[in-house]
């Protein structure tokens, strides 16, 4: 059991088993108990991940690593693709975050989804997702990684479109799938390029083993291209700037899905990919600069959009985009300059780790609000819920202080580390250091905006006069109103004080809230997570060290506090101020409210011309089709005459036979008798 290789197999095996059990037994046997396999599978998987992390932590080797025997997946000629798992510090930290959040969210889902049709389907896909995600993190080979990468994409598609009868959900699922596929096309090209250049020219037995490629990476002209292509995949999956449009729409899925897939885990796969490949990326300063610019720009853009959104889940979605932007910014700040690379990549992964906890918490709290309010999510329609939903109020506040990066709470430590990394990049000898300094300033502004929009959402939802939409009383504790079973529709609540009653609702919130508050501090002070991550095989640097940058800490604290105070002033002390400010700068407000019109822009630039092209193709196809149909029509016209003699009368058939045989004989006689 404690053998590391067994543990490596067990981590994805539990969710896979849960998936198979739920998929086959769920509809017939388990029905409303379908959540148990998923919860147990995720919990067992979490236990294995924790054991793995502890045993990796205990190893004093410089690069602690476990790996399983590689099985041959498939072989073409003498090119073999192996299937094997490996774990190092980076993997273990990711695994713990994924499986822990997965367990909590599965418990929460058993409450959130309890009245939905397709309850077993939901949990089967959730398990499949956990399997794919753990497989993605554990993969030791680019092809295996790509396979699991597509696996999580598929689960994301299925879960966004969980309510597939709702047109907006189906459209959102399709959009997410297509946009990420655009990035994945780039990624597979990048993998091919790596494969092509991975070995010295004479040896045809190239492999796509991660370690081999990353350890033998050397500076050459193809590295920049390969990195940028891989980045395409990462940008698509992690919803960064050019391909970010799918994430806000993905909020059409059930809220636990948004928490697990579109906040805590799947969207961080891009960050993981770039971190895993950081030995490649540091070889190309240009690629690193692109990563940093995309990250910094997305962080700023998403934060600016989040300032004015009224949909609670959308605010959180844009906040996720913004935080992912921070991670990319940190990854991009890794330059080959002493210990900077390790610091930067560790900062990104550390932020990913803390972000998983507090963003899952915020989403689950939003889900709790949403179900209690009868699936109303517009913040203008409810307010002052702190008496009605006391537990949710406190847990949301915990998530908010962690996200805003107030000192000693989780977000503070990791965000501070990112700022530190960017600042060091700005002070390095890199030719692009000026750009890094600009990005640092934008990151500080973004941090202040983060605090502002987080607390804006908090005040709008939980403070002010108590206002509850009428839907809350009709569907309290109900499933999704549009698909809820009519038999339950009359289960009215006598008073909204009873909104929080289920342990399955409150327990994950409380556990995640404790994690969101203190996991950052604990990781930094007790487990030295940065040094531990630095020992991961992906970051081959000799001496990972951490120094405290008081200036950065002070600046980010000031920024966060400024955002917090501004939000408090605008939405708590003087609630009318926000509208006055919006009226003062109507253009700016409108652009932010309409998300800088990216959807319209893409509609005009990409979807419009493609539609025109599709119409042209369709017209051409109609012509070709017409010609083919004409050929097909002639036998049918002939048959129209011949079918007259098919009248079902035996004597008529005999007559026809006789007439034609006679005619044939007559011709023969005349022909040969000449």
């Amino acid at each position: 059991m404690s053998d590391p290789a067994t543990l490596l197999w067990l981590v994805p095996a539990f969710p896979l088993a849960a998936c198979i059990i739920t998929a086959f037994l769920g509809p017939v046997l388990l029905r409303k108990q379908s959540h148990w396999p998923t919860i147990l599978g995720a919990a067992c998987s979490f236990g294995c991940s924790l054991l793995l992390l502890i045993s990796l932590h205990g190893i004093t080797d410089f690069h602690p690593q476990f790996h399983t025997n590689a099985l041959t997946w498939f072989a073409i000629d003498n090119f073999e693709v192996h299937f094997g798992l490996q774990a190092d510090a980076l993997t273990a930290v990711m695994l713990v975050a994924v499986t822990f959040c997965g367990t909590m969210i599965a418990i929460f889902s058993s409450w959130y989804m309890h009245n939905e049709d397709g309850y077993p389907r939901f949990f089967a896909i959730m398990s499949l997702f956990l399997f794919s995600m753990t497989g993605l993190v554990l993969a030791n080979n680019f092809i295996v990684l790509y396979a699991f990468w597509e696996g999580v994409g598929l689960c994301s598609y299925l879960l966004i479109g969980f309510w597939f009868t709702k047109p907006s959900a189906a459209a959102a699922a399709r959009k997410a799938f297509l946009v990420t596929r655009l990035g994945d096309a780039g990624m597979i090209l990048g993998i091919m390029l790596l494969w092509l250049h991975s070995a010295d020219g004479t040896n045809f037995k190239r492999s796509l083993d991660l370690n081999e490629i990353l350890l033998r990476a050397h500076s050459s002209p193809y590295v920049t291209t390969a990195c940028l292509l891989l980045l395409c995949g990462a940008v698509g999956k992690s919803a960064q700037f050019p391909l970010h449009v799918w994430l806000p729409d993905a909020m059409e899925g059930p809220t636990p899905v948004s928490a697990l897939i579109h906040a805590a885990t799947m969207v961080t796969a891009g960050v993981y990919l770039v971190a895993r490949c950081s030995p490649l990326f540091v070889l190309s300063p240009v690629a690193q600069l692109v990563v940093a610019i995309i990250g910094g720009f997305t962080a700023l853009l998403a934060a600016a959009i989040a300032l004015t959104q009224y949909d609670l889940k959308r605010v959180l979605a844009y906040s996720t985009m913004s935080q992912l932007g921070f991670m990319f910014l940190a990854l991009g700040a890794g330059l080959r300059d002493g210990n900077l690379i390790v610091l930067a990549a560790s900062a990104a992964i550390f932020h990913l780790f803390t972000h998983a906890f507090f963003k899952a918490l915020l989403f689950l709290s939003a889900g709790s609000v949403m179900v209690s309010m009868g699936h109303v999510i517009d913040m203008r329609r409810f307010s002052g819920l702190r008496k009605v939903l006391p537990t949710t109020h406190w847990t949301f506040l915990c998530g908010a202080v962690a996200l805003a990066g107030l000192p000693i709470f989780s977000g503070f430590w990791s965000k501070d580390l990112i700022m530190d990394a960017v600042m060091e990049a700005g002070e390095s000898t890199s030719p692009y250091r000026a750009i890094y300094l600009i990005l640092l300033v934008s990151a500080l502004i973004t941090a202040a905006m983060t605090a502002f929009y987080t607390f804006r959402a908090y005040y709008l939802t939980f403070h002010g006069e108590e206002k509850i939409p009428p839907e809350a009383f009709h569907h309290a504790g109900e499933g999704h109103s549009e698909v809820a079973h009519p038999a339950h529709a009359h289960g009215e609540m006598e008073h909204p004080k009873n909104f929080e009653q289920s342990m399955a609702q409150k327990l994950p919130l409380i556990v995640l809230a404790i994690c969101a508050l203190f996991i950052g501090l604990a990781s930094v002070s007790l487990w030295h997570i940065v040094a531990f991550l630095g020992r991961s095989t992906a970051f081959h640097v000799d001496k990972p060290e951490r120094h405290t940058n008081w200036l950065m800490m002070g600046l980010s604290t000031v920024g966060a506090l400024a955002g917090l105070v501004l939000a408090t002033w605008m939405y708590y002390w003087r609630p009318g101020t926000a509208n006055e400010v919006a009226a003062r700068v109507p253009k700016l407000y409108e652009w932010s409210l309409y998300r800088f019109r990216f959807d319209e822009l893409y509609g005009y630039l990409i979807i419009g011309p493609l539609n025109v092209w599709a119409q042209i193709c369709r017209f051409f196809d109609a012509i070709v089709d017409g010609i083919v149909d004409l050929v097909g029509l002639s036998p049918r016209l002939l048959a129209r005459f011949l079918q007259l003699i098919q009248n079902g009368l035996v004597q008529f058939y005999a007559l026809v036979t006789i007439v034609f045989v006679t005619a044939f004989m007559a011709i023969l006689v005349i022909w040969f008798g000449r």
Binding site: Q646, F652, L655
Partner: protein
């Protein structure tokens, strides 16, 4: 010595008589007999040629034809019996269903198919009691 042509003429007459009977009769048994008559015409031809050539080839063929005709008679009569049981009539024009969809059925207006008296339907019992409740499925997913 009767010349070959006489045999052939008899055979041809038999064949043509059978053919005409087959085309004009609507009674299935008569049509079957007509078909047999055509076979006999062919058999006479074969025997005549066997005698003309002075070998046994034609006679062997004839024996085969008679054997096959015997089997065919058994089958055909059995089939006719089944058809009769279904429609209570031997009229072949009642069996026109195997035609092209959309084609009109052909009716002989000069000599229509006689109408058969309809059988009295069996009496029905009135249903009693309450319809049993059926379990309703909430979800099939």
């Amino acid at each position: 010595m009767i010349p070959l042509s006489s045999y052939l003429i008899v055979g041809a007459i038999l064949f043509v008589l059978g053919m005409i009977g087959f085309l004009t009769r609507r009674n299935m048994i008569l049509m079957f007999l007509c078909a047999e008559m055509m076979l006999q015409g062919v058999a006479i031809n074969l025997v005549a040629f066997a005698r003309h050539h002075g070998n046994l080839h034609g006679q062997v063929f004839t024996l085969f034809i008679i054997t096959v005709a015997a089997c065919e008679a058994a089958l055909a009569l059995a089939l006719i019996l089944m058809l009769y049981r279904t429609k209570k009539s031997l009229d072949v024009s009642l069996w026109q269903e195997l035609r092209e969809p959309g084609q009109e059925a052909i009716l002989d207006l000069d000599e229509p198919v006689p109408e058969l008296p309809r059988e009295e339907p069996l009496p029905h019992l009135t249903p009693s009691g309450i319809a049993p409740p059926q379990k309703r499925e909430d979800s099939y997913v």
